[in-house]
Subunit: 151 residues, 2 copies
């Protein structure tokens, strides 16, 4: 459905405005859908994001700054996100012995199992949304988004 119909706009919209609304609305649709997938596993989207970053470390610990810079929303409070994951025993944290200001965060076996259970659902989620586009269109959409935000 076109964005004007969704938002029941009565006046015609500039294409530049439409992109903003389309990006914001598409993000909402994706996020709501993804939250449904996460709900039975009792983790939030941001917590999932942290777990993915930690798995990507392949056994190396990540400190708070490393996690922060790899996250989508840089404004998140990483300390508290890690606190929540710690309570669920999905990560461990300890002070770095070389530099006691730093914290070493690692994903646990339990954390890896949660991700493994989610993996097929996440792939299905990604493909669900792109199934209406052919591979050229998918590549083109990525290029246009990257070009769009390149200031």
């Amino acid at each position: 459905m076109k964005i004007e119909e969704i938002l029941k706009s009565t006046v015609p919209m500039d294409n530049s405005k439409k992109i903003i609304l389309n990006v914001l609305y598409t993000q909402n649709v994706i996020t709501e859908n993804f939250n449904e997938i996460l709900k039975p596993h009792e983790i939030s989207g941001e917590q999932y994001n942290v777990l993915r970053i930690l798995r990507g470390q392949k056994g190396n610990p990540a400190n708070m700054w490393t996690i922060q810079e790899r996250m989508l929303a840089k404004t998140s409070n990483t300390t508290r996100l890690v606190d929540k994951l710690l309570l669920k025993e999905l990560v461990t944290r300890k002070v770095c012995p070389e530099n006691r200001r730093k914290i070493e965060v690692l994903i646990t076996q339990k954390g890896l199992e949660v991700l493994a259970a989610l993996d097929p659902k996440v792939i299905a989620h990604e493909q669900f949304f792109s199934k209406n586009l052919n591979s050229e269109e998918i590549a083109l959409l990525n290029q246009l988004l990257e070009k769009y935000r390149n200031q």
Copy 2:
């Protein structure tokens, strides 16, 4: 910048996953930039959204449901958003005389003035992001996003 560089991904990513990350990240960039514009006017993005809907009513009152269905994020608590706008005297609310369950919300002169002050900044914001695309690419990006989320 490409999304893999931004998120410092070490492994190559599927294009379907990239779209998700590109949409989420682009939304973050747009929203952060827009919040900077709103900050001096002391309203949030959601509050701005409600004011725009009310101005679009052209003098007709909007009830809570009408506001809700025209908002980007349908999960927002419209009552409390309107409460905040009421405190700032940007809207009025009264019980609908025909159906006392309904609430009639109207934008005030002060609300219209806030929007009027923001209008040029909002247009500049929209055009700032699309300046790297030509008009065909802008139209194409809208089409692809609409096709993408069409399930």
